[in-house]
């Protein structure tokens, strides 16, 4: 490593604020940016070790979030200031081991050896949880085998003290030959010591390196590893330089690569070679995985004897006592139900004032623009295209923020694991993961935050299946459509026994949506996404108080990611849709509106009616209108005419827009849409005098809305969370296909039965 710059060598490092930041410059004095900075450090560790809290404390809020190439896991990298110097700190997603089966799990190993979008690290800080040091040491041992500079940070000492667990960190340091820092990051203990240690390690003339292999592989295993190294070299893979690191990487390849892995960047020939080696070992009666893992744990158990001292009598910890209530029978479920109800309330009700505020702000911006810019194409583009588009994006923020505040608090506290534990028995029977419960439930409020919440599920296949069915949960945007249709065709007076027909239909819509979601999941599991359901292994961490900074940062990251990646798509689609509804601007009208205006002689009401008529005809002759007309042959069998088609096109922006678009077509002004549309739909007559729309049509339309993914915000978020357009397109097509045939069935079936 041609690094001759060193951290500003003033001892001891000063942690006073202010002072010039002395960044490392490469040779040549160009202005530094984050990729120019000298040292790169990694922060790794198990999940639930408080790693994010340490990361926040070290980097403040300057961290940038990006993406590892080809993977939906986020890359978090920021600057950590150490006195007068600055280094790059990358937060690697929490993992129990470096071994990987999917491209997401590969992120850790790639970061350690510096491939696929990561720089080679100069220092690796491993965060361990003081409460279960043994398991945490496994990852540390794996990393140590790469002989890179390391610091061990044992966090959560405060919790360990409470449980009367005694940790001899000096003994740990001696055994591993590495600096060990004790911390309680949530109480801000140990941060300065850690910073000191980082400076010290990076300043060493021969930087102190990890101890390498602390266990001895058997001769057969050694031979296998040499064979893996040879095969890797032959395949052109870049290998680490030192002997120990090459063997460590070979170990990783040996345990991770197999005939059914989903790893990226592994040449096929290498995969075959490693697979053959592994199967040969099995045939010889060996168990390579078992040998490797038990050897590491044997070492850990040996040194743990002098490092970890647990109290002799097993005291019932606070966590155990809380769990006695929370995961137990009736009380557990009541609390679970209460928690889920609060989440539901938050998404349905508490978000409302914020959403209204945003809508008002958007409305205000629109009027402001209209008063500043002369009326015309540009003003319309800005107002109905750009500002409306931005509004369509921002309107999701309250629900996303509330959702993630809720989820991250529950996760930080430790309750999420218990919730999944409680509900998994039920979810498993319907083929879903316990962690899918919260996303599915949230789908009743809005699919967008619900699909974002799916990332709490570890397994990619389960995530995709859940994402594909969430749109079938009846989201709150469908309600305005349902209520207008029901009011128009199923008035409150009609009853079926003691039940109001309209109410029954509404209930039915919710039920059909949810049941179809479960059935769809069952079908997708067996057809489009076959595979094994991986083991549901959830760690149930000790309860602890939430760290507000961590929660704030994680929630902020989710909201920012949404804005950046889904927001742009939503904005673009809004503008396209606006154009379709707006152009051509001056069609050949059937009526002479200007003449009519002159005749109206200044009477306000008449002028308003003329205006609405003109807008309606303009919409009819727009591109959207033409598309609606062109689609009529396909949609007639469902009972939909071109007007409904245009409404459906408009509702792609947001389902509620269906109502306002239909309103405009019927010559209502946008404000009057909801009230007036009811009446218009019920009474509209065609040229032959017969009613255009019937109750059967109403039912058919409701059925269509139950299934169809009529919302490009949902499409955009599926694309974001699944990492490709393929799945977004699939969700769109299968739901619309389902909607089409269901509506067809209901409408034609109804006609056959004599309803109309």
């Amino acid at each position: 490593m041609a690094r001759s710059d060193k951290i500003n060598n003033q001892t001891p490092p000063q942690f006073v604020g202010g002072g010039k930041r002395n960044r490392f410059r490469r040779r040549g004095n160009h202005a530094p940016d984050i990729s120019d900075c000298g040292f790169n450090a990694l922060l790794v560790g198990n999940p639930n070790t408080g790693k994010t809290t340490i990361y926040n404390a070290l980097t403040g809020f300057n961290a940038k979030v990006g993406n590892y190439p080809g993977v939906t896991v986020e890359k978090r990298i920021g600057e950590c200031s150490l006195g007068e110097s600055v280094i790059n700190l990358q937060d690697v997603p929490g993992s129990y081991s470096l071994s990987a089966r999917s491209s997401e799990e590969q992120v850790a190993i790639n970061a350690i050896i510096g491939r696929e979008g990561s720089e080679k690290p100069d220092l690796i800080i491993v965060v361990l949880d003081g409460l279960n040091l043994e398991r945490n040491l496994y990852l540390a041992l794996q990393i140590a085998e790469f002989e890179l500079p390391m610091i061990i940070a044992v966090n959560m000492l405060d919790a360990a003290e409470k449980e009367k667990i005694h940790l001899h960190l000096d003994a740990l340091s001696e055994a591993l030959g590495l600096p060990v820092v004790g911390m309680a990051a949530s109480k801000r203990r140990g941060l300065d010591v850690l910073k000191n240690a980082i400076v010290k390690v990076l300043n060493e003339p021969d930087i102190k390196r990890g101890p390498g292999f602390l266990w001895k592989p058997s001769d057969e295993l050694d031979q296998d590893l040499q064979a893996v190294i040879a095969a890797a070299e032959k395949s052109g893979l870049e290998l680490p330089k030192t002997e120990s690191a090459r063997k460590a990487f070979a170990l990783w390849l040996y345990t991770s690569v197999g005939d059914d892995d989903e790893l990226v960047g592994i040449p096929d020939q290498l995969r075959t070679d490693i697979d053959n080696l592994y199967h040969k070992a099995l045939e010889d009666g060996r168990d390579p995985d078992g040998e490797i893992i038990t050897a590491r744990y044997a070492y850990i158990d040996r040194i743990a004897k002098s490092i970890v001292h647990r109290p002799a009598a097993r005291a019932i910890s606070r966590t155990d006592r809380i769990d006695g209530v929370l995961t137990h029978g009736l009380w557990g479920f009541l609390i679970f139900a209460a928690t889920m109800t609060i989440l539901f309330q938050a998404l349905f009700a508490w978000a409302d004032p914020f959403i209204s505020a945003i809508e008002s702000a958007v409305g205000f911006a629109e009027s402001a623009i209209l008063s500043l810019i002369p009326a015309g194409l540009f003003a319309d583009f800005l107002v109905d295209g750009v500002i409306a588009g931005v509004g369509n994006v921002i309107v999701f923020l309250p629900q996303i923020i509330l959702m993630f505040l809720f989820i991250t608090i529950l996760e930080d506290v430790g309750y999420m694991a218990r919730a999944a534990f409680l509900i998994d028995g039920l979810m498993r029977r319907i083929g879903l993961n316990g962690k899918a419960f919260v996303p599915l439930l949230s789908g009743f409020a809005c699919a967008v935050p619900a699909i974002m919440a799916v990332r709490t599920i570890e397994d990619r296949r389960s995530r995709l299946i859940t994402m594909m069915v969430i749109p079938l949960m009846t989201c709150s945007a469908r309600l305005p459509v349902y209520s207008v249709i029901i009011a128009a065709f199923f008035p409150a007076s009609e009853k079926y026994g003691p039940f109001n027909i309209g109410g029954l239909i509404l209930l039915g819509a919710y039920a059909v949506g949810a049941i179809t979601a479960l059935l769809a999941a069952a079908v997708i599991r067996r057809t489009i996404l076959p595979g094994k359901t991986p083991a549901l292994l959830i760690e149930l961490p000790p309860y602890r108080l939430p760290t507000l900074q961590t929660i704030g940062r994680l929630t902020y990251e989710r909201a920012a990611a949404f804005l950046r990646q889904a927001g742009t798509i939503i904005l673009a689609c809004t503008i396209v849709l606006w154009a379709l509804l707006y152009f051509p601007r001056n069609p050949e009208y059937d009526h002479d509106y200007d003449a009519m205006r002159v005749e109206a002689d200044g009477i306000e009401e008449e002028l308003a009616v003329i205006e609405n008529m003109q807008v309606s005809e303009k919409l009819e002759k727009s591109f959207a209108g033409r598309i609606g007309l062109a689609l009529e042959p396909i949609t007639r069998p469902l009972g939909f005419d071109w007007r409904v088609n245009v409404g459906l096109l408009g509702s792609l922006a947001a389902r509620e827009v269906f109502v306002s678009t239909m309103g405009v077509i019927f010559g209502l002004s946008e404000e009057d849409s909801e009230a007036g549309l009811r009446e218009k739909l019920a009474n509209a007559v065609g040229p032959d005098g017969k009613k255009l729309y019937t109750p059967l049509f109403g039912l058919s339309l409701i059925i269509y809305f139950i299934y169809a993914l009529q919302c490009f915000s949902t499409v955009a978020i599926i694309r974001r969370e699944s990492g490709s357009w393929k799945w977004a397109a699939f969700a769109l097509t299968y739901t619309i296909g389902l909607a089409y045939f269901a509506s067809l069935f209901v409408y034609q079936g109804g006609k056959l039965l004599g309803f109309s």
């Binding site: 129990y96 081991s97 071994s99 089966r101 409460l131 279960n132 040091l133 043994e134 398991r135 496994y138 345990t255 197999g258 995985d289 078992g290 893992i293 038990t294 744990y297 970890v308 647990r310 155990d320 769990d323 995961t327 137990h328 029978g329 557990g332 479920f333 694991a417 999944a420 534990f421 409680l422 998994d424 028995g425 039920l426 498993r428 316990g434 094994k532 991986p534 083991a535 549901l536 292994l537 959830i538 760690e539 149930l540 961490p541």
Partner: protein, 76 residues
Amino acid sequence: MTPLSKLKTNKTAVLEKVEGERRFRRRLMELGLTPGAEIRVIRTAPFGDPIEIEVRGFHLSLRKAEAARIKVLPLH
């Protein structure tokens, strides 16, 4: 050898072997469920599944079908 799924609440056992598909075995063993490790069953979830166990100082939840692949020697 008893499957872990058959172990009653509050009972402790010593792990003898983990069976099953390669990735499953590897994950469990890397979490510390290695031969010789002590496992204690803490509770069963209300629907009968999953179960919560304690091993190497931490709590893990796993489904009964998965626990059945873990063979243990009960302690008394």
